[in-house]
Amino acid sequence: MSDRASDIRAPPAVGDDGGGEVRYLSQSDLEVPTHQIVSPDGSYDDEAIPDLDDEELLDLYRWMVTDRVFSRRMVNIQRRGELGTFGSTRGQEASIIGSAFTLSPDDWLYVGRAWTPMFMRGASMKDMILFWRGIEEGQEAFAKVNAQIAISIGSHLPLVSGIAWGMHLDDADAIATAYLGDGATSTGAAHEGINLASSVGLPALFYCQNNQYAISMPYEKQSGANTIAQKALAYGIDAIRVDGQDVLAVYDAVSSAREKVLEGEPVFVESVTYRLDAHTTSDDPTRYRTDEEVDHWEEHDPIERYREFLKSEGLWSEIDHDAIVEEIDAEFDEALAAANAMEERAVAEMFTHVYDELPPELARQLDEFEELLERRPEMYDFIEQRPKG
């Protein structure tokens, strides 16, 4: 830190100015490589394969399929009117699983569009159904595994830096990770959060899934920066840009990043991927993108690519794909049944957890409301608890 400061403060030496000519720092001079291990045609270099045993390689596949099945089922139950809304992750499975697979249970996690990492930490599909049904127990369950979902886009980056700050003070053997989208990189909170991590030197990992869109906004219009990864340089931290359709490359990049982060060097990873489904079930993507574009990315299906790899490795025979899907479907059925069995909650639920203890005015409001509900049961003509979202 102090070395750097003295370098910066020293006056530039005569002759350092490139001979009197104005020279720009320009992104066009930057070379931003994209890390890839398995190419779209399925070929790869044996040497480049990360150090994972067969069981782990198969787990990666299983988790990716979990992610896909979960999205499919959630979209289906939303269409049946059993969820408020839902944001599918189809197309982003390698990006989501390859990264989350590197994290340890002691790490903290704040996600954007990435639901399966919660399951990988031990939260259940039921918890996620509750979350999307607007039942507070969902977030409560995620908190138990030191994970949260950020709804106000970008708002979580300063939090993640703050968590990492605590870890830094504790000398903890863990990191704090923020998943964010391409859109989130335009928020003020994201800039300040990343810069804080850089300034103090915090064990924070910023994992940006550039799925090309923020609702209708394509990345090219989100910013003039050619890549998101390059933005990290302005904060003075290192970045990796990785092919988000290549689960092994994502795993490789993020596990390398995690090592660095553990040393107190924050890292920013841009994972280049694509959201194949709508932003949420309330969105109509045909208003802003073409079928051709979507078809192009369908051909870059991350699960297909990994399947080619497993075949080349002779591991595909170990996998009974249909059985995996069946198992996950059964897990989802069970989760849905458990979520459907949620009891209606008492009205007091609304008032608890605002503070440690209910302040007198709030206690008064609760009493008055409970009394009103009893005295005027016609209130229930207007109130529907929506255990099904």
Binding site: G134, I151, S152, S216, M217, E349, L362
Partner: protein
């Protein structure tokens, strides 16, 4: 023409963009997709990509950018996708938009509009349900407008765009499409700062606004009460006179709002009645409001909202003794 509130927003934007080249519309997803509620539908097609712009996901830049553009001489109409995402940009309202005129002794002004859907009841995720007009109304220099009918929406938005000072225009999304009524063709203004008397009555005064108007009118009908119902329409500056004159006549009052009770707009209305009409009151003023809690997530959000029986309960309390 017959229109809903969201269609009236769209109509006002079309009229004003057509009338004044300096009107520029921007925000997240407003251009290409016409807004997540379609409030800005077809503006891009009609007025082009210089004047209808999709911005980055940057609330601070949207509100701060609108302020600067307005200072320079344009008439920006910025959209915040949901009012729950205004807070990052609150700084720009507090620090700049609301005080540019004051800071420069009128040399520079910020004639801008920030539009945003607000309120509970659309089954969305966290941060999609709040009604914080009380917090925004607390800022000197910022006008806060909340329409409740399609015809008012068009006229008030038109007035807001033409106004020489900044306006926060809060659109009641719960009733975006539930009311359809005759909206005059062509341009017209409904003045900012003037409440509307929706029902004349003798026994008590009920004050509400925005998405609370339909349940308030229902409560009055259900209770068969001879109430004077005032639609405040503008939170700041508040139309004290209309409220006070009505209370002087009826001697009783209920204020209904969706936002939290503590330091809510209701508190200010009660204070003004106390200032100007205390001696006319025959009973304590009742407040029927949201609770001092975050709006519950969607499974329990119905509990939060003041429904007609709760409003009627407040009315009956004000009418007792």
């Amino acid at each position: 023409m017959q229109a809903t509130i969201v269609e009236a927003v769209n109509d006002a934007l079309h009229e004003e963009m057509d009338r004044d080249d300096r009107v520029v519309v921007f925000g997240e997803d407003v251009a290409e997709s016409g807004g997540v509620f379609r409030a800005t539908d077809e503006l891009l097609e009609e007025f082009g990509s210089e004047r209808v712009v999709d911005t980055p996901l940057s609330e601070i830049a949207i509100v701060g950018g609108a302020t600067g553009m307005a200072m320079y001489g344009y008439r920006p109409v910025a959209e915040i996708q949901f009012s729950g995402f205004l807070p990052p940009a609150f700084d720009q309202l507090v620090t700049n938009a609301s005080r540019i005129r004051w800071r420069t002794r009128g040399e520079l002004t910020a004639p801008m509009v920030v539009r945003m859907p607000y309120g509970a009841g659309v089954r969305a995720l966290e941060h999609h349900s709040e009604s914080l007009e009380g917090a925004y109304g607390h800022l000197p220099g910022l006008q806060v407008v909340v329409p409740s009918t399609p015809a008012d929406t068009k006229g008030l938005l038109t007035a807001a765009i033409r106004d020489p000072d900044p306006v926060l225009f809060m659109e009641p999304k719960r009733i975006y499409r539930s009311i359809r009524e005759e909206v005059p063709e062509g341009e017209y203004e409904v003045p900012i700062g003037e409440a509307a008397v929706r029902r004349e009555g003798e026994d008590l005064t009920v004050v509400a606004w925005g998405a609370m108007m339909p349940p308030t009118l229902d409560a009055v009908d259900d209770g068969d009460v001879d109430a004077e119902v005032i639609d405040l329409r503008t939170i700041s500056p508040l139309d004290t006179e209309t409220v006070v004159e009505s209370v002087k006549k009826t001697g009783r009052c209920v204020v209904v709002h969706e936002g939290p009770r503590t330091l809510g707009v209701g508190s200010e209305i009660v204070a003004r009645i106390n200032d100007e009409a205390l001696m006319y009151l025959e009973s304590p003023i009742e407040r029927v409001t949201g609770f001092d809690t975050p709006v519950p997530l969607l499974s329990m959000e119905d509990f939060y909202f003041p429904h007609p029986p709760r409003i009627l309960d407040g009315i009956e309390a004000a009418l007792a003794d």
